[in-house]
């Protein structure tokens, strides 16, 4: 199968997504380094702890903008389905884990991991949708 070319909305998405993720990595390492070097407290610690989350919030906005800008209705519908699948898996996982954690049988689940968990679940749902299409005779 030939490699798919990106449409204009997908190219814009990549142009926004890559800088946002790069900023996340840079900010995360910088904040970790500053926290270790200077051992900040109070407001400085609050800001330092918050900073790595901001590029990830930007990634969420970038994803939302892409959904709004994607002109191809089938691709848009696919994405929404995969995102809903990701939300379902994330909620199922965190609900079960939360009860197990409450019972003291599993360690604490850091809530900042919910976003990467959703990203993975979203990707997994896309793979399952592709597999279903292949098995039903379609190909993408």
């Amino acid at each position: 199968m030939a490699k798919q070319k990106l449409n204009p909305a997908q190219r814009r998405y990549m142009r926004r997504f890559i800088p946002a993720m790069t900023a996340y990595v840079v900010v995360l390492f910088a904040c970790t380094w500053v926290a270790k070097q200077y051992d900040p407290h109070g407001a400085a610690l609050f800001i330092l702890s918050l900073l790595p989350a901001l590029p990830l919030l930007a990634v969420l906005v970038v994803m939302g903008v892409y959904l709004a800008e994607e002109a191809d209705e089938f691709i848009r519908a696919r994405l929404v389905t995969a995102m809903l699948g990701g939300i379902g898996i994330t909620l199922a996982f965190t609900t079960v884990w939360g009860f197990l954690e409450n019972g003291g049988v599993v360690p604490h689940f850091a809530t900042f991991l919910a976003f990467p968990l959703w990203c993975g679940s979203f990707g997994l749902t896309q793979c399952l949708l592709n597999l279903r299409d292949r098995l039903s005779g379609g190909w993408l």
Partner: protein, 69 residues
């Protein structure tokens, strides 16, 4: 939803990519519509009908009537 898109495309010797470019959608969309895995919106269905110069119901099978058959 069953449709005659593949037949109409074949009659014109268009590939899925050719049809996709004429409709300004992705080839995946054409494939999904042809195989009945995706029902196009009304604007896209009208665009398809305009392209083939046919009424929508001559391209797409009315699911309500299909059940009655």
């Amino acid at each position: 939803m069953n449709n005659r898109l593949r037949v109409l495309r074949a009659e014109r010797a268009w590939s899925q990519q050719d049809l996709a470019e004429r409709l300004e959608v992705s080839r995946q969309s054409v494939n999904a519509i042809e195989t009945g895995r995706y029902d196009p919106s009304l604007p896209l269905a009208f665009k398809i009908a305009d392209l083939f110069d046919m009424p929508i119901e001559a391209i797409f099978t009315n699911p309500a009537k299909e059940i009655g058959q």
